[in-house]
Symmetry: C2
Subunit: 308 residues, 2 copies
């Protein structure tokens, strides 16, 4: 089960009643945050989330509205008595930006490790998440992220028996361990497991022009969260100029993905957009599974045969 | 007229429904901010204040809850199309802290000038405010601030006439200018003005043990805003240990000032304090003019003979 909460939906600046865009996911006791602007820690408290469980923070890019809340959240985590290392993932320069901001959070009871993305596409495995960062097109280096929870095949007792694997190795093999038996025989998980089953996938992208890589990564997602900065038809030129995208462009990206994502949530609204829902009828003509994201919108994604 | 607004009342960390402690004053079109934590810009928006008019930001010290909102507010000011210089005032090290935080706000359309406080007491005149910074006692270097609007004496036409000052110089002299007449005679404002009249004074202090300098500076204030981190009688030891003060200690500081301030607002509440008002009966036994500050509490201070 992957728990997903869109903490905020604002772009550029936090507003009364609208937090900056940020995503929190929880899987198997490990929380992951994408972006952390001014006020994200308050949004987390409003939703009842704890700071201690955050193992990973991914940053799309270094505009202030996506990272200005970092010192505050580090201190909130310190206050929660976390001692486990925290991993930060983001574009080249992450180390420099984090060290600048930590001028007001220099001492923490946990180590902070920065992973700077070097490639146009990069995969990082952490705490059960398979994180794929992919370059998008903004006015500074910016990445989208796909978060996947992979799922191994079903345990097949008949195959295990047929291969003559002693019963005591069945459980460790099912958990993915490779076993060397006392008699020197080697047993591998694929000897007892069927083909991989469908996992869970969430794709997140803000601050970009609508480029094809986004559709490619959104494909097969249970949930695709995407910037929809503007809804007014006459703002397309502005979106192009500032390297953002409109709600309609986001919907076209979802529609072009193959297979299409199950659902699309729009976010990162311009401060000038008062009521995002008013544009959704038009947006849904392009992609029927589109929803206007709102602060605190959440969903629990379950494996296909898992109880919800 | 000096407009005073306590934007937030929280200490340590922002909470849902409680912004971090920060003060905004407005005088003659010029806004001054004391401290700027995460979310202060949202608190300002809630109160309908504009960013463009902020000419001065004073920092008490560099704990994150007092300065983490700086990059966000600088960008909000940039968005308001300000081009006038901004002055930041704070303890030694200000330049280094500001430059660290500006890693995410590097380009601004206005110059930022830092004034680092060197003395235990230091006076800075700016935009009609007389700002007195005074060292207090925290676990890092920390200052309190008195903001004064001084008021010259009343214009005395009889004295101007008696001194033979031509009519055309009366107005510039009243405004404080020194005049050299065509015939070489010098006229100074004191030749046409009576004795200085009572001005306005607001004193602000958070994050300190209750030291006597605070009373000394609070004396004669129209409003004294002071930390009251704890109200529970058993938290006095904790206050002492972390170099904070209780509501009762703040009230004693107000009572000890000579002359006493007109009013005391408490602020910078511990996140553990849910309902500050519950302690006020006890606090008012020490200083009857005490009020529990709350987010957005405001007052308009007027000169004695000025219409409110």
């Amino acid at each position: 089960m992957l728990d997903v909460c869109l903490l905020g939906t604002g772009g550029m600046m936090p507003l009364p009643g609208r937090w900056l865009t940020s995503l929190l996911t929880r899987f198997n006791g490990s929380s992951l945050l994408i972006d952390c602007g001014e006020g994200t820690q308050i949004a987390m408290k409003e939703q009842g989330h704890t700071f201690k469980a955050i193992d990973t923070i991914c940053f799309t890019h270094f505009h202030a509205d996506h990272i200005s809340g970092l010192p505050g959240i580090l201190l909130a985590m310190a206050n929660s008595e976390r001692t486990e290392p925290l991993v930060l993932i983001g574009p080249k320069g992450l180390e420099r930006v984090v060290s600048g901001l930590r001028v007001i959070a220099p001492e923490l009871p946990f180590p902070v490790q920065c992973i700077e993305l070097k490639d146009r596409e990069q995969v990082i495995e952490r705490k059960g998440y398979r994180i794929t960062a992919f370059r998008v097109q903004h006015n500074m280096v910016c990445y989208g992220y796909s978060l996947e929870i992979l799922r191994a095949g079903k345990f097949d007792a008949e195959r295990a028996k047929a291969a003559g694997i002693p019963l005591k190795y069945w459980n460790p093999l099912q958990k993915g361990n490779v076993i060397e038996a006392e008699d020197g025989r080697m047993f591998t998980p694929d000897m007892v497991l069927g083909g991989a089953r469908k996992g869970l996938k969430v794709t997140y992208c803000t601050d970009s022009r609508p480029v094809s890589q986004i559709s490619a990564h959104a494909s097969g997602s249970d949930l695709f969260i995407c910037e929809g900065m503007y809804g007014e038809p006459d703002k397309e030129e502005k979106a192009r100029e500032h390297k953002h995208m409109t709600m309609y462009e986001a919907a076209h990206l979802a529609a072009a993905a193959d297979p299409q994502p199950q659902e699309l949530w729009l976010t990162h609204y311009s401060p000038s957009m008062v009521y995002p829902k008013q544009y959704m009828d038009e947006v849904r003509k392009i992609f029927p599974g589109a929803l206007a994201g709102k602060d605190g919108r959440k969903v629990e994604l379950n494996f296909q045969d898992e109880e919800s």
